[in-house]
Symmetry: C2
Subunit: 291 residues, 2 copies
C-alpha cells in the first residue's frame, strides 16, 4: 500500500493522458474538459479505488483507467451541478465554474463528454485486459453513477428544494449524491483486486457510512466555513433552501451523527481480512473537517 | 432478416423494460426519460443495429440491449441539443421538448441519465453474456457517441454558428453529428453478429456515406419542409446561422451531393458477402425525403 498523496499523484498524472488516449478532441471542448479535470480537489474517489485494489492484492497500475474514469464522472457531475439551471454556482474550488469560463453550451457538452469519456476509457481497458473483472468494475461504477445512484440523488436534491426537511429524504439525497461514488470507488477497486462478493459487500458498507459522515461534515462546513476554506460560496445551501442534514438536525446534532456514521464505517472495515489502516485513517480524518 | 417495421417494433417494445431493469428510478426523472424515449421517431439506429447483427448471422434478441442503449444515447443527445443554452427548440417530433415539459434542470438530468443508462444496459448485457463481442460492441458505440464522435460534431456545430460555411467544417459536423451514430449501429451490429474486421470496416464506410446523404437531405427539408412534415419548426438552421450543406452548396447542389453519397454507400455494401438488400433499400429511401 502507498500513501494518500502517492495514489493522488498517480491519478492526477494519468487523467489528461487518459483523455488524450481517446483521440483528437476539438477545441474548445478539450480545453473545457481539462479545465475542470485539472481543477484540483482531493481526488478522493480515484485514491480510494486505487487503495482498495492494492489492499485486496491487485495492481494499482491496472486499476488506473478505472480511477481516472471515476474522477471524470465526478467532474462531469460538478460541471452540470454548477449550471445556471441547476445550482447556479460561479465558484468551484476557488475558480470560476466551467460555464463562467466557456459558456453554458460548451459546459453542457464538456459534462456530457466527460461522462462518455469515462465509459470509453473503462470499455477500452476492459477490452485490452480481457479479464471479466474489468467489465464488472465498469458496470459497478456506471450503476452507482446512474439513475438509481448519483443522478437519482441529484434529482431528489433538486425536487426537495424549499420543502420541509424529512430524515428519509435527506438520507436518500446524501446516500445517492455522495455515498454512491465512494461505494463505486471502493467496490470497483476491490473487484479489480480480486476480492470476494462478501468482501465487496463490506467495502460497500464502509463507503456508504463514510459518505454519509462526509456529507454531514460538508453540510456543517457550508454554515460554518468561509469562502477561502471552502473554495466556494458558503451559505449557498440555506440560500437555495436545500434539504440538508443541518436543516434537519442542527449543527450539534449533525456533528454527532457524522461521528456515529464514521463509527459504523470503521465497524465494516473489521469484516475485511487485510490491513485496513489506510481506510480507517481516511474516515477518521473526516469529522475533523468541521473544526 | 425481418422487415424494418419488425425490427422497429422489437426495439420499441424493449426500450422501457431496459430502463426498468436498472431498478427504482425516482420521479420526475423516470417520467422525463420515458417522455423523450417514447417520443417516437423512426428508430433508425436500433433498427440498423438489429438488422446488421442478423445479416452477419447473429441473433437479434441478443443484440436488443445494445439497440436500446444506442436509442438512449440518441435520445439524450436530442434532449440536451434542444436546451435553451443549445439550439433552444420548443418542438421535437411535433411534441413540446423535454425542458418545456419538465423544466431545464430535470431535462439536463434526464439526458445525463439516458447516457449513463445506455452504458449500464450494455455493461450488464456484456457481463451476462460473457462473450468478448459484448464489451467490443459497447466500446464501439461509446467511441462513436463520444468526444471524438457525436459530441465533437455538436461542438463544431455550435462553434461554427454565424461563420462563413467551409466544406471541411460542414463535412466534419455532418460526419460526427449524424454519421457517427449510424456507424455505431452498423459496426456494433456486425460485431455482435460475429463479422470480421474487414466486414466491420465496410459497414463503417456504408454508414458514413449514408449518414452524409441523410444529413444533406435533412438540411434540404429544413428549407423546404413545413412544421407538420418535420415535427419541428422549419428554417431554424437559417435563423441560427447554422453552417449547413445547403448554405454551402445551395438546394440543387445539396440534392446532387446527397445522391452521390448514397452511391458511395451502395458501393460499400458490395464488399459484404451477405444479402444487403435491407441496407440498400434504406439508403435509397433517403434522397426521396427531399421531395
Amino acid at each position: 500500500m502507498r500513501t494518500y498523496n502517492e495514489y493522488r499523484s498517480m491519478a492526477e498524472e494519468a487523467l489528461i493522458p487518459a483523455l488524450s488516449s481517446l483521440g483528437q478532441i476539438p477545441s474548445p471542448l478539450l480545453e473545457a474538459m481539462c479545465y475542470s479535470l485539472q481543477g484540483g480537489g482531493k481526488r478522493i474517489r480515484p485514491v480510494l479505488l486505487l487503495a482498495a485494489c492494492e489492499m485486496a492484492g491487485g495492481n494499482a497500475e491496472d486499476a488506473l483507467p478505472f480511477a481516472c474514469a471515476l474522477e471524470m464522472v465526478h467532474t462531469y457531475s460538478l460541471i452540470h451541478d454548477d449550471l445556471p439551471a441547476m445550482d447556479n454556482d460561479d465558484l468551484r474550488r476557488g475558480q470560476p465554474t466551467n460555464h463562467k469560463v466557456y459558456g453554458e453550451s460548451i459546459a453542457i457538452l464538456a459534462g456530457d463528454g466527460l461522462l462518455n469519456a469515462a465509459m470509453e476509457v473503462m470499455a477500452a481497458a476492459a477490452v485490452k485486459s480481457g479479464r471479466p473483472e474489468g467489465i464488472r468494475a465498469a458496470e459497478t461504477i456506471m450503476r452507482h453513477a446512474g439513475v438509481t445512484g448519483m443522478i437519482a440523488g441529484q434529482t431528489a436534491d433538486i425536487t426537495s428544494e424549499g420543502k420541509t426537511p424529512r430524515e428519509d429524504t435527506v438520507r436518500y439525497i446524501h446516500e445517492h449524491k455522495t455515498s454512491d461514488l465512494l461505494e463505486a470507488a471502493v467496490e470497483a477497486g476491490l473487484i479489480l483486486g480480486g476480492a470476494s462478493e462478501e468482501q465487496v459487500a463490506a467495502g460497500h458498507e464502509y463507503a456508504l457510512h463514510t459518505g454519509l459522515a462526509f456529507q454531514m461534515t460538508d453540510d456543517l462546513l457550508d454554515v460554518t466555513g468561509s469562502a477561502a476554506e471552502l473554495g466556494k460560496n458558503p451559505g449557498k445551501d440555506a440560500d437555495q433552501n436545500k434539504m440538508t442534514w443541518v436543516a434537519l438536525r442542527g449543527a450539534e446534532g449533525t456533528a454527532e451523527d457524522a461521528c456515529r456514521e464514521a463509527e459504523l464505517a470503521l465497524n465494516a472495515l473489521r469484516k475485511l481480512p487485510w490491513d485496513t489502516e489506510f481506510f480507517k485513517a481516511f474516515t477518521e480524518s473526516l469529522p475533523g473537517r468541521k473544526k
